[in-house]
C-alpha cells in the first residue's frame, strides 16, 4: 500500500508547479549574462558590505547566516526585493537593502551566483541524513529544488547550506513567520514534524 500523499506533495503535484516552473524558466533566460571583469569588480565593491555577515565572496563562516556563493541570481534578487518591500524581514538585513535599486539587486545576485561555494565544516548524523532523504523524496522537494538541491532560477540552491540555517527557515515557514513564498513552502512545511525538519536539514546540508 502506498503511503498517503502528504499535503505538500498534493500541493506541488499540481499545475501550479508546472506554471511556476514555466515562469521561472523564462525568468532565468536573459539575465544569466556573465559579468565581465569590470562589472565584476564593481559588483564586488558593492558586495563588500555583505561579506561582513555572509563571509568573503558569500561563503559564510557563521552558521546563522546563509552561504550566498553559487546561489541563483534570480533567488537573491527576489529575496532582496522582498526584504526591501517588507514581505520578508530581518533586523540586520532589512535596513541594509532599503536603498538598493533594482539594478543593484540584480548586480548583487549575478555577483554571488558567479562565486564558488566552499564546503562547510559539518559532521552529519548518518541516520538523520537517511531519514531526511526519505522525507525529501516523500514531499517532492526535488520537483522544485531539483535533485541534489542545486536549485534553479527563483528556487534556491540549498545543498551544502548550514543545517541550522535550513532548520530555521523550515521552522519559520511552518510557523508562518516567513511568508514570502507565495504559499509554496508554507504549505510544504505545514505537514513536516520538527523531527522531519531536523532530518531534512542534516540531509540537505550534507549534499
Amino acid at each position: 500500500m502506498r503511503p498517503p500523499r502528504s499535503g505538500v506533495a498534493a500541493f506541488f503535484g499540481s499545475r501550479m508547479l508546472r506554471l511556476a516552473i514555466a515562469a521561472l524558466a523564462a525568468l532565468a533566460w536573459p539575465a544569466h549574462a556573465q559579468l565581465d571583469a569590470k562589472q565584476m569588480a564593481s559588483a564586488r565593491e558593492k558586495a563588500q558590505v555583505c561579506f561582513a555577515c555572509h563571509g568573503p565572496d558569500g561563503n559564510s563562516q557563521n552558521p546563522d547566516y546563509p552561504i550566498l556563493a553559487g546561489q541563483s541570481w534570480r533567488y537573491i534578487y527576489i529575496e532582496l526585493r522582498d526584504f526591501k518591500e517588507g514581505r520578508r524581514s530581518d533586523p540586520h538585513l532589512s535596513p541594509m537593502v532599503a536603498n538598493l535599486s533594482n539594478e543593484e539587486m540584480i548586480e548583487l545576485g549575478n555577483f554571488f551566483a558567479a562565486q564558488k561555494p566552499l564546503p562547510i565544516k559539518f559532521q552529519a548524523d548518518s541516520a538523520k541524513v537517511e531519514a531526511g532523504r526519505k522525507t525529501s523524496d516523500a514531499v517532492l522537494c526535488p520537483m522544485c529544488h531539483l535533485g541534489g538541491f542545486v536549485g534553479q532560477n527563483e528556487i534556491p540552491r540549498v545543498a551544502g547550506q548550514y543545517p541550522q540555517y535550513i532548520k530555521k527557515q523550515l521552522l519559520d515557514f511552518k510557523a508562518k513567520r516567513r511568508t514570502n513564498d507565495a504559499g509554496n513552502m508554507t504549505s510544504v512545511a505545514s505537514t513536516l514534524s520538527e523531527q522531519d525538519i531536523e532530518n531534512l536539514s542534516q540531509y540537505i546540508a550534507n549534499l
Partner: protein
Amino acid sequence: MASHIRKVLAVAFALGVGFAASVTAQETGTATTTAAPMSSDLIPVSQAMLDGAAADAKNWIHPNGSYDNARFHAGNQINTANVAKLKPAFVFQTAVLESMETAPIVVNGVMFLTTSFNHVYAINAATGEEYWHYKQKLGPIVTVCCGNNNRGVAVSEGKLFMGTIDAKLVALDAKTGKLLWEAQIADPNLGYSETMAPAYVDGKVIIGTNGGEYGIRGFVKAYDANDGKLLWTFYTIPDKGQEGVWAVNDATGRDMHRDIAKEKADLGKDSSFWQRLGGGVWMTPAIDKKTRTVFFVVGNPSPDLYGAVRPGDNLYTDSIVAIDLDKGTYKWHFQYVSHDVWDLDAVSPPILTQAKDKSGKMVDVVIHGGKTGHIYVHERETGKLIRFSEAMIPQENMWVLPTKDGARMLPGANGGVEWSPMAINPKLHLAYAANLHQPMTYHVEEVPYPGGKLWLGGAFKTIPSEEQWGRLVAVNMDTGKVAWGAKTPQPLIGGVLATAGNLVFNGEANGWFKAFDAATGKELWKYNCGAGVNAPAVSYMVGGKQYIAVAAGGNNQIDAKRGNSVFVFALP
C-alpha cells in the same frame, strides 16, 4: 486567462521533463539561415486593405482574419471535394524549439511569423525562403505564466507590431526587420508580460496584458503607430465599483455559492486590493469600425483561487467589455462569472457576426467561447445576453467552492475553451470551438500578495485516474444547439480556421492537423506534423494558389511535444 493558465498535467516526472525541455529551448534560437533580399512583392498594408480583409482571399493580414475575428477565409479553391489531396508545399523551420502559438500574417506572398522568446521571421509564403530574422533583445526580468509564447504580429503601412514577454510593444520595419521604436507597456517585475498579437487600426496599436496570475491590474492600451506614444488606457479593474451588483448566479443562472454578507463586511475593512485584482486581456480584440467600438474579454481575478482577499464581483474580470475605439472609454460590460475562484474566466477572443435574437430577427452580435464550455451570444450594441449554447464538454458539480484538500468540479481550470480563437462560418451560422476536458480538483490556500511572484492562492490538480480529451464543437449561433462534435484523444489548445471551401481546420497536441466538413463534422483529411499543432491555422493565396499554414511547435500549457516549424499545405 488566467486563464491562461491553464496549465496543467501534474505528474512529477512530467514536470521534470517539461522543465528540462524549457531549459534546452532557452539555449537555442540564435542561429539563422542566410537571408535573401526581401521580395519586391511586399506592399504596405493600407487601412482600406485591413478594413476589407474579410473578403480578401489573397492576404491574411489580421491575426484572426479580419477586425471581426471571424477566422473565416474567403478562398474556396481548397474545398470539401478536393481537400483529401492536400499536401505539404514546404515546412519552415525556425531556430527556436519551443511552444508555438503564432498566427502567421501574409501580405502579397510574404509571411511574417513569430516564435517563443519574440523572434520574428519574414519568409516567402510560397517557398519558405527566409528574408530576415529578428530577435528581440529581452531585458533581465521576464515574468510569464504559461510559457514564453507569442501569438503573432499586427501589420500596417510597412510596419509590424509585436508585444514582448518583457512587457514592451515594438515596431519593426516590415521590409528589413529593423527595430523602429519600442515602448515599455508595464513593469515585468510586477508580473506584466505580452504574448497576444496586437490590433492595428487607424494609426493606433491596441494591446492588452498578461499577468492575472501575478496580482497585476489589467488594461487595454492604445499607442500611436508612428512613434509608440501612449494614447489611452482602459483599466480592466475600475478605480471604483469593482464590487458590482453582488451577483448570486453566473450568466447561465447557476448559484455560485458566495457568502455575500461576509464579502460585504470584508469590503468595508479593506478595499485597497483592486490595484492587484488581475484582469488580464490575453487575446486580440475585435473592432467594429462602424460604431468605433473595441470588444475584448477580461481574464480572472488575482489570486485565482483565494477569493477571501477580494470581496465583490471583481469587475471587469471574467467579462466581455466594449469600449470606445478613439477614447478608450467604457461602453458596456457583461460578466460571466462573478467573484471567480476557479479560473474559469474569459480568454478566447470575441467574434463579431450576426445571429438571430430571441424574436428570430437577424441582428449584429458579439460572441465568446468561455472556459465554462458555453458559447455566449450578445447583442453587439448593448452587451445583453441573447443566449448561451449547450455545454460543449461535461460540467459537474458547478460551482462547488475550492477547499484546502481539493474539490472536484468540471470543467477543469483550462476550460472549456481556453485562449484558442474560435472560427465561424457565416453562411452555416455555425461557430467552431476547440475545447478541453481535463477533470481537476480545486484547492485553496490563504496566501498574501507575494510581490510579483506567481499568485494562485492554491492549486489546480488534474486527476490522474480520469481521462482527459478534447472536442472540436460546432454550435448553431441562432439556437445555441451543438450541430456536431469531434472528440480528440487529447485536450485541444490552438484555435480554429474555417474557409469558404466549407472546411474547418484544427490541430491536436499529438501532431495531427485535420480538415473537417464544416456542415457535418466529417473528417476529410489529416496530416501529422510531428509536434503539437497548438496554434491557429491561416489561409492565403499566392500566384492564384490557395495555401493553408499552421505552426507545429507544441505547447507549454498542456506540455505537448515541442517543435519549431510552420507547415504550409496546398493542392498538388
